[in-house]
Amino acid sequence: MPITTTRRRLLAGSVATLALPAFARAQSAVKPRLTAISQWSAGSDGAAITALGKKFEEKGGVWQHSPVPGFTTEMMNKLRAQIMAGDPPACSQLKGPEIAAWSKIAPTVDLDAVVAAAGYEKVVAPDLAKLHKPGGKWIALPLQIYSTNMLFLSKRAMDKAKADKIPVTWADFNDLAEKMKAGGVPYPIANGGTRPDDGQKFEAALAGISPLAYRAAIMNLEKKALEGPEIKAAFAQVRKIADWMDPNVGAQHFSTNLKRFIEGDMGMMIMGGWAQGVLRNAGFKLEDFTIAPGPSNNGKPVFLLNADAFIFWQRKEADLQAGQTLMAQLVMDPAIQTMYSQITGSIPVRTDVDLSGEGWSDGQRRTAAALKDAIASNQAVLSLAHNMAQENGMTAAMIDVITEYVKNKTIKPEQAAIRLAEAVEGAR
């Protein structure tokens, strides 16, 4: 049976340079075509990528998108199969450090020239830019941004607690939760219980306590920071959050609780900006809840970055190359990013897009403002729970510890901190 590895084939070419003139020539000679793989198939995700495809076709391109429904893992299986078959898509969804990892197994396109032409680098958060140019050259382009630690407040629960101030620090947050509990809100926290959900509780806690410690421990995996007091404090905060949740939620999706959240039986939710779209699509009114940046002990917003992106795989076909250039230009285009974010509820990657106009919600405006402030104060960090801070293997090892801690109340914060450090060592 002809079973051999494909490494030689895969590593045959390194990142090759495609000069801009070649692009231009190809573009004029052929109809641009794009083969793309993503997991965006349903709801607003599906609608947004469909709209992007329409724009691509309006510019004279042929749009060949192949959605792989389900978990990211299945999308990656498909991508891996295509790469092993020597037939990668011209572009595919991929995010965070996985961009660097996958770029080692197949040649990618050097986008430096197109990026420079669009002046894109100046308007992208520096930590984010780094992820998309792993070898020093742009090979992938971020498309939209979410913050994973936005704070959603239920209007009715606030009324029950007789509170109107949005909590700024974790101490404020804890006070408000106690007030809600006292005011007759049975469960002050409305989160779900999936693995990313548990991860989000932890990253929101740690980054809010100390963005510096988050950067050192979670993004840079510094041993000293992983054993530092902030980690224990974060786990202690997570325990409080878990204790305020309905234990019955199990591993359900956060959307299970939306009704009780709106009705004030649950008070707060630490969730990505996408929850706004979910609430809206479920038919709830925007005035029934408030969105604010997640708690931050130093008072300045902390932004946990989660960005979706496209990576571009090297193809020899002239029409695909032309399609890649067109796609890259579209993804960086402020109008396109505006269109995309207005469908999905995210915010644009470009920090120079004006969100004051129509089509944006207050939540989105606040998120964008928080991002600007966070970048200015160096408090925009990469989300662990949504695979932005570490490669998937490391992320999963860390989330194992976190989700076990959330679900098992006999584990002490000190123990959890030790286990987290051990998990990091084991996965290195």
């Binding site: 490494r7 895969l10 299986n77 990892a101 019955n248 591993a251 293997g393 076990e404 098992n408 084991g426």
Partner: protein
């Protein structure tokens, strides 16, 4: 075979093997393809388990490092313990459920066709769907517990799904629901092939129904029971979609199972080498179960030959 050929009436002198080429091809090509894919895929996996492969297969040699890493991981240890518990509990309970259902259906009751279809239909539905539906039914805030609370019995508690120690039993429940229809069908088939004359003779001798079941019917089901156990074991070991949709290994990592760990390592964590090592360990567990069965079959066959 040779004497059959010798008796054949005279035909144009084509060599025997040419004449029989089509049948050889029809027999051997599919069987050899099947065997070849099983052997080569297994060997490939064993090979990969000794390489440093991560995202894609690569060559290289890391010795037993992948194995020690898997064996040392909490996920695998929990998965292994769970497999022992889940495997034995599920196999015994689903066989028992299947047997009880079969005996009930065998009582010449009205509506047997409909009932049989009801017990069999879960086999027709995809595990992803049933896992999801069970995750609602078993969730204390959504499903059975809430229903009973709403009916007024508010102290009722059925929250195994969120209980670390009991969550594995929710998988047992869903798996029994999904697959004991198959056991039922096998047992029902067995019950129906019990020799009616012997039963009649026993009845004439004045034996009651319980006694007839204990002395005549159940002993004759023994070979079927072995088949049921083997098929359910195969189900237990390869249980994947159901758990992924029902608990996804949670609460925390309390309901990990080897098949889940293999997939997680290979494709979620992009640690192909380690995932392959876990798969090989899983195959070894399988062999530990199957070898006794094969030995039993062998002894049985020898006995049949000598009888």
């Amino acid at each position: 075979m040779s004497n059959a050929a010798a008796i054949r009436p005279g035909r144009p002198a084509l060599p025997e093997w040419v004449r029989r080429l089509p049948e050889y091809l029809m027999i051997w090509v599919p069987l050899l393809l099947s065997a070849a894919h099983l052997i080569s895929f297994s060997l490939w996996t064993i090979w990969i388990s000794f390489t440093p492969s991560t995202l894609v297969p690569v060559s290289g040699w890391v010795g037993l490092r992948n194995y020690t890493a898997v064996a040392a991981s909490r996920n695998w240890q929990i998965a292994f313990d769970n497999l022992l518990l889940f495997g034995s509990a599920f196999v015994v309970l689903s066989a028992a459920t299947g047997l009880i259902l079969a005996i009930l259906l065998d009582q010449r009751i009205r509506g047997e066709n409909a009932l049989r279809s009801i017990f069999l239909y879960p086999l027709a539905v995809s595990f992803v769907v049933t896992g999801t539906v069970w995750s609602w039914l078993l969730n204390p805030g959504l499903g059975i517990q809430k229903l009973v609370h709403d009916l007024g019995w508010t102290s009722f508690k059925f929250d195994w799904l969120i209980d670390r120690d009991m969550a594995i039993w929710t998988i047992v429940i869903a798996a029994i629901w999904q697959s004991s229809g198959f056991a039922m069908a096998l047992f029902l088939a067995g019950l129906r092939s019990v020799d009616a004359d012997i039963v009649k003779a026993a009845q004439i001798d004045g034996a009651g129904p319980v006694r007839i079941y204990r002395r005549i019917v159940l002993p004759s089901l023994w070979p079927i029971t072995v088949t049921v156990v083997v098929i359910q074991l195969q189900f237990a070991i390869s249980t994947f979609d159901l758990v992924r949709a029902l608990t996804n290994g949670g609460p925390g990592i309390a309901t990990q199972l080897p098949a889940l760990v293999v997939y997680d390592l290979m494709f979620q964590r992009s640690l192909l080498g380690r995932g392959a090592a876990a798969a090989v360990l899983m195959l070894l567990i399988l062999l530990a179960v199957l070898l006794p069965y094969a030995a039993w079959r062998y002894v049985q066959r020898r006995r049949a030959l000598h009888a």
